[in-house]
C-alpha cells in the first residue's frame, strides 16, 4: 500500500504534551493549571438563548458570513470598545472559533515559501497552520526581560525579503503579556515600512487588567493591512460553543470568506444566537468574571514569587508564566515531577517554542480554593527541591 499521508501533514508535529495528558488522565485528584479555558460555565442568559433558538427550530445553516444581527452588533461593539471600523456586510465573518479564523486568515494570504513572523513564546497553533499553508514560520523572540512584549529591534532582526505576515497575540497566551499603545507604534512602523500584513489574535482582549486593550488596527495606517481575530470563548466562558470572528478590509475578507464557505460553510447557528445574547446582555457577567480573574492573578503571582518561582505580573489573559531557573530542573522535568509527585498539572514553556523554555504556563482559570491548594502543593514541591 502507498504511504497516504501528505508531506504537509507529516511536517506538523504531534501535540507537545501528549505524554502529560495521558499521565494526568490516569491519576486521581489532579489539580489542573494546564487548561486554556475559563472555569466558569457560560452565563445562563447566554445558554438560555441558545436553548430557546433550538426550541424554535433554529437548527439550519446560516449565511456563510453569519447571522446579520450578530454581525451588526459586533460591528457596533468593535467601534465602541476598540475604535475599529468594520462594515458588518463586507468586512466581518463569524467563524467556528478563533481557531478557524486563524486558519482561513493564514490560508488567504500565505503563498508557498512566504515567511510568517510569529512572536515567541508562540501559541501552539500558529506554526502548524503556517506549515499547512505552505509557509515558513519564523519565531521572533519576546523574552522575559522585556515583559514578553514584542520589541521593534527583535522584530527587525527577523525581517527578510521573504517576510510577508506578522502574527501577534496580545494579551498573550502563554505569557499574559500585553502591548501598550506606545509598544504598538514601533511595531506599526516596521509593518508598514516592510509592507507586511498583520494578523492580530485578540481573543483575550477583554481580559486586560491594568489599563485597557489597544487594538492594532486602530493605530495609524495599520487598518488597511491588518486582519483582526477575536471570539467569545474567553471573555464569555463560551469555549465549547465555538464562535469567533475575523475582521479585515473587504478584499482580504472576501478571500477568507471563500475559504470559509468551502471548508466550514457557517459557524453553528444556535451558538451564533447565544453569542448575540452575550454581546447584547453579557457585559455584567463578563465584568464579574474579569474581576475574579484579576483577584486570582494577584493571589497567584504573589504566591509564585513567594515560593521561589519568579514571575512577572501578567497584565492580561489568565496565565502566569513563572521561571523555573534556579530550581535545577528543566521546564519539562519540573512539570513532569510536579504532576507525578504533587498532582498539579502545568504546561512546560518549551511547548511554546525553544525561546519559551525554562518557564511554566500556569492557568489561573480555576477556583480560588483549587488555586490555593495548588500553591500549597507547589510550595511543598519547591521545599523538597531546595532540601
Amino acid at each position: 500500500m502507498r504511504d497516504f499521508i501528505s508531506e504537509r501533514a507529516r511536517a506538523i508535529p504531534p501535540s507537545g504534551i501528549r505524554k502529560f495528558f495521558d499521565l494526568a488522565l490516569s491519576m486521581e485528584g489532579v489539580i489542573s493549571l494546564g487548561v486554556g479555558e475559563p472555569d466558569f460555565a457560560t452565563p445562563w442568559n447566554i445558554c438560555e438563548s441558545g436553548i430557546y433558538s433550538i426550541e424554535q427550530g433554529g437548527t439550519s445553516y446560516t449565511s456563510n458570513r453569519g447571522l446579520k444581527p450578530l454581525l451588526e452588533a459586533l460591528s457596533r461593539y468593535l467601534r465602541e470598545h476598540y475604535s475599529l471600523a468594520y462594515a458588518p456586510e463586507s468586512e466581518l465573518i463569524i467563524t467556528t472559533g478563533v481557531s478557524e479564523a486563524l486558519d482561513i486568515a493564514i490560508r488567504a494570504v500565505v503563498n508557498p515559501g512566504d515567511e510568517v513572523l510569529v512572536t515567541e513564546p508562540i501559541y501552539v497553533s500558529y506554526p502548524p497552520c503556517v506549515t499547512l499553508a505552505g509557509g515558513r514560520a519564523v519565531p521572533v523572540p519576546c523574552p522575559a526581560d522585556g515583559q514578553f512584549r514584542l520589541k521593534p529591534d527583535c522584530l527587525m532582526e527577523k525581517v527578510t525579503g521573504k517576510s510577508k505576515v506578522l502574527i501577534i497575540n496580545f494579551p498573550n497566551n502563554p505569557t499574559g503579556a500585553v502591548m501598550r499603545r506606545e509598544d504598538l507604534k514601533g511595531i506599526a512602523d516596521i509593518v508598514t515600512d516592510h509592507d507586511l500584513l498583520l494578523i492580530s489574535d485578540e481573543v483575550y482582549a477583554e481580559l486586560t487588567y491594568d489599563g485597557s486593550h489597544v487594538s492594532p488596527a486602530a493605530i495609524g495606517d495599520l487598518h488597511e493591512r491588518t486582519i483582526t481575530l477575536n471570539g467569545f470563548s474567553k471573555a464569555y466562558a463560551m469555549t465549547g460553543w465555538r464562535i469567533g470572528y475575523l475582521c479585515a478590509p473587504r478584499e482580504l475578507c472576501d478571500a477568507a470568506l471563500k475559504i470559509h464557505q468551502y471548508v466550514m460553510l457557517c459557524a453553528p447557528a444556535m451558538a451564533q444566537v447565544a453569542a448575540l445574547e452575550a454581546i447584547r446582555n453579557g457585559e455584567e457577567e463578563k465584568d464579574r468574571m474579569v474581576r475574579e480573574y484579576r483577584v486570582r492573578r494577584n493571589l497567584f503571582v504573589e504566591a509564585l514569587n513567594r515560593i521561589g518561582l519568579e514571575c512577572h505580573v501578567p497584565e492580561g489573559a489568565f496565565y502566569a508564566f513563572p521561571s523555573v531557573e534556579g530550581t535545577g530542573l528543566s521546564d519539562t522535568e519540573f512539570a513532569e515531577q510536579l504532576l507525578k509527585e504533587e498532582r498539579v498539572a502545568v504546561v512546560p514553556g518549551s511547548v511554546f517554542g525553544d525561546g519559551a523554555a525554562g518557564h511554566l504556563r500556569c492557568a489561573y482559570a480555576v477556583s480560588r480554593k483549587d488555586l490555593g491548594e495548588a500553591v500549597l502543593r507547589m510550595e511543598r514541591f519547591m521545599g523538597r527541591l531546595k532540601a
Binding site: 495528558f21 494526568a24 489532579v30 489542573s32 494546564g34 487548561v35 460555565a41 483577584v295 494577584n298 504546561v347
Partner: protein, 163 residues
Amino acid sequence: MDEKDLLLLHLLEENSRLGAEELAAMTEISPADVKCRIAELENERIIRRYATVVDWEKAGDGEVSAIIELKVSPERDFGYDRIAERIARFNQVRALRLITGAYDLQLVVTGKNMQDVARFVSEHIAPMDRIRETATHIIMKTYKENGDSFFEREGAERLPYSF
C-alpha cells in the same frame, strides 16, 4: 467609596472570612489600608454584619419559613414607616420590605412549625391597627438564597490540558 472599596465589598459579601493579608493581595493595596477601609465601611454601616448562609433543610432543623403579605393603610405624615418599624422589631421577622402590587408589605417569618407561624401572624401581625388583610405563603423548599444555589450539580468534565 472608590473602586477598591467596591471590590472589597464584593469579596467580603462572597466570603466574609477573608483576612486582611489575603484581601490586600487580592485588591493590590496594603493590609493596613484594607483594615482602615473595612473599619470605615463598618462605621458607615455599609457593611451591616458578617453572616453565614446556611442550608437549614440540610442541617435537619425543622424550622418553617413563610412569606407574609400585608395590606396596610398608610398613616398621615409617616406612610408605612412607623408600622413597618413595629413589625420589624419581632425576632420572628427575618426580612421586611415595602413592595408594589396588590399588597404593601412583604415579610419573611420563621417559626418552629406551621402552627407557630400561623399563631404569630394571627396573634401579633393581623390584629395590628392599619393592617387590613394578610396572605400567608408557607415556603416549601428553598432552591437559592442570597445568590447561592442549593442545587448540587456535577461539573462538566474538563480536559486536564488544553491550549
